[in-house]
Symmetry: D2
């Protein structure tokens, strides 16, 4: 199934070992296993995370709860940023803002994070969350804008 609005990655990583670091950090997030989220495609400044729409993650209307949608959006943006950070960097979410555009409902969600601006200390990212259901077009269900901090040596 074709992903809408994907932009080709265009950043140079500062650490040649960036992909191993991203995958190891994701694997160390116990919450991702608890939610059933998996790391997909990664590229410098780009990260995809998918989440099956499990019934035990729903709110009162049967849709995936806003915080859970935020959880994969925050991580997609966070690892998009982390992929561009130097050796020994550590990433921290300073803040994010997320709009919910449509019910997070379907077979699975896909969060796509991309770096808008890599800095020395701060990284600005955006993430889109799409809901996929077999036989239907993907639905853009959330849009996030985020500030990350490189907290080296922490």
């Amino acid at each position: 199934m074709e992903l809408p609005q994907t932009v080709a990655p265009r950043f140079e990583p500062r650490d040649s070992d960036w992909e191993r670091k991203v995958r190891e950090s994701f694997a160390a997030q116990k919450v991702m296993a608890t939610l059933g989220a998996t790391l997909g495609k990664v590229a410098p400044g780009y990260c995809e995370i998918s989440l099956p729409c499990r019934d035990d993650l729903t709110q009162q209307h049967g849709f995936i709860q806003a915080g859970i949608v935020s959880s994969i959006a925050d991580n997609a943006g966070g690892y998009a940023g982390f992929s561009l950070m130097p050796v020994d960097a550590s990433v921290l979410a300073v803040e994010f803002k997320i709009n919910f555009l449509a019910p997070a409902d379907g077979d699975y969600l896909l969060a796509v994070g991309q770096v808008l601006k890599p800095g020395k200390t701060l990284f600005i990212t955006r993430a889109e969350v799409y809901a996929f259901r077999e036989g239907k077009a993907p639905v853009h269900c959330a849009a996030m804008q985020q500030t990350l901090m490189n907290v080296s040596g922490k």
Copy 2:
């Protein structure tokens, strides 16, 4: 243990049955049981939700992951708003913005949601998340600002 910066509720509910509705809606959110979150004190325009700091909800540094913090903040704001909505209202999170002020780490988190402005269609709220650890002062670990919508008849 004393909660910092609590403001006394000051709103008149439009539905005398508001507390039952809030508690039933919270109970219908399967994700809250999955995360181990519980609904605490509620008042018109005010809502507390607590979450034990379980190891399986942590990110790579061992703190509660940002999306999980957002999950209880979003619901604390959401139910603070829902408590003031008329009969037959249904609440939807339009968007929120959250800053992470300190690591979400301790025995449990407490999210405190309060209504800033109740409207006809839109409700604006704020939520604070505090981390509690026995023998220590609570730490203000997240601050949220949120827009809710009353989607009656949905």
Copy 3:
């Protein structure tokens, strides 16, 4: 000079007279004349506003102040949304979030607003602000995400 990251408009207007409405509403904003801002290209779901970098709009470092950058970003998003609203609609900014990516400094700023999601009541938009200086590549200096409301009959 080539604008980076422009996305082709892709929305159908609900009011065939949308462009006249947008231009008349912009002209009725006295603040735009005060700041020296002008309305540029408009299309369904798309709006450009430019602002010369006047010295009397600067903050303490000599850059255009954040609120003034926000002023054209808010209007670019707002008129992108308004262009898609039905006859007799009136547009209101519910909220926005804006990140400042680089100093707003140069010959002029260009704010480019685009609709992410047109709804019945709420419209979600994004705007980018670029700083242009002769002989240099444009600099992406701000990124905004916004919620608008159609307040018909107001």
Copy 4:
């Protein structure tokens, strides 16, 4: 006229000369004079800015335009933060999010900024904007949450 919801300042300044620095920086913002804004009460972690509701700052409905409201809110938060920064600090707005709660209309607006969390590099603040009209209660017309950065040596 009594200001609603004011919280007493509770921070220790790191630079004993903080008030002079805040007032000099404000005076160096040419945009504040252009808009007619004036600096009012300041205290460590606290700042008030007022703005007469001039006709030439209005949008199409005759209210003060959202970006202008943001301009004083951003500065009220910014100087609240700057008041707590060390000697030789320089303050930069990383981002803010603002909700518009009521029309910004009256005799004058008052923006009240307060620090939520002073950090080493980042400062988190909130600002409220109230609209005052003689003989009426102040109206809470905007609520902002902001991230500032101490960019020393810039």
